[in-house]
């Protein structure tokens, strides 16, 4: 089986997809954080009376 060098092929493909997934996760988590902050700020702006 390892005559065909499957092990490293697997490592390589896994690494490629892992990086992609990590970056996507990083993007979504950051997006969520920013959305939360927008909501928070909007609520703050609405609740405080305009000067």
């Amino acid at each position: 089986m390892d005559q065909r060098e499957f092990q490293y092929m697997f490592y390589g493909l896994a690494a490629a997809w892992t990086i992609l997934c990590l970056y996507t996760l990083f993007l979504t988590s950051r997006g969520r954080k920013i959305q939360a902050e927008i909501d928070h700020l909007k609520r703050m702006l609405e609740s405080s009376p305009k000067k």
Partner: protein, 230 residues
């Protein structure tokens, strides 16, 4: 408009990848000298080209920003650079794994490896510069200038390193099925197919990142309004 692009390009990229993976894993034969491991190559070269396209696009957008001072160019430049960095990381890591199997070492100070790493560091510097500047106009302007410098520097690094030393397989693709020493047309076609898939993915990711940058801008302006009231 941008949301449609995200979903459209994203879905197409996913389908394309599924199709490509099916061909790569189940239809293509092993390479004559390397065995199965050559399949990494389909996730090594295409991301590299996609990353280069990103950096190139970022430099052009940066030039346009300096000329027009329109935000969209700055937003595109930072998004493309960041996605480019992720793709370049993919290129570096897959390359290292392939090298470990083929050359027995994780890293060698070969021309292409070295210049890829330097490229990565240069663009990491771009993101760090952005982190360090608070005023959005100043940030956009200075990082645009850096992006233009970076592109020239990357080209120079690449050239200089090629003259210096190389043990990396040449730009001519060396994938063979038989003893003939020629490129298998099916394998070569697969490189282009996967490049297509990666480019679609890049479009989707850059669009997502641009949305994020827009929200970030919204936060900054909301925060300023909040400060004005408080």
């Amino acid at each position: 408009m941008r949301d449609k692009l995200i979903y459209g390009a994203g879905i197409f990229a996913a389908l394309y990848f599924v199709r490509n993976l099916y061909v790569i894993l189940l239809q293509l034969p092993d390479e004559a000298l390397q065995g199965a491991v050559y399949r990494i190559f389909f996730f090594h070269l295409p991301p590299y080209f996609a990353a280069v396209a990103c950096f190139f696009g970022a430099a052009i957008a940066s030039g346009l920003y300096l000329k027009t001072k329109q935000w969209k160019y700055d937003v595109f430049a930072v998004s493309a650079t960041e996605v480019g960095l992720a793709l370049a990381a993919m290129n570096l890591v897959t390359g290292m794994i392939w090298g470990r199997q083929q050359w027995g070492i994780w890293w060698t100070w070969d021309a292409r490896l070295t210049s890829a790493l330097i490229t990565w560091l240069i663009y990491l510097g771009y993101l760090m510069l952005r982190e360090g500047i608070k005023d959005p106009s100043e940030r956009a302007k200075n990082s645009a200038v850096l992006s233009i410098f970076a592109l020239f520097a990357v080209y120079f690094t690449y050239k200089a390193n090629v003259w210096y030393r190389t043990q990396h397989p040449g730009p001519v693709l060396t994938i063979r099925t038989g003893d003939a020493g020629t490129i298998d047309p099916a394998m070569q076609a697969m490189i282009y197919h996967n490049l297509g898939a990666f480019l679609l993915l890049t479009v989707a990711l850059v669009a997502v990142r641009m949305n994020l940058e827009d929200s970030q801008r919204a936060v900054e302006s909301l925060r300023r309004r909040a400060h004005a009231i408080a």
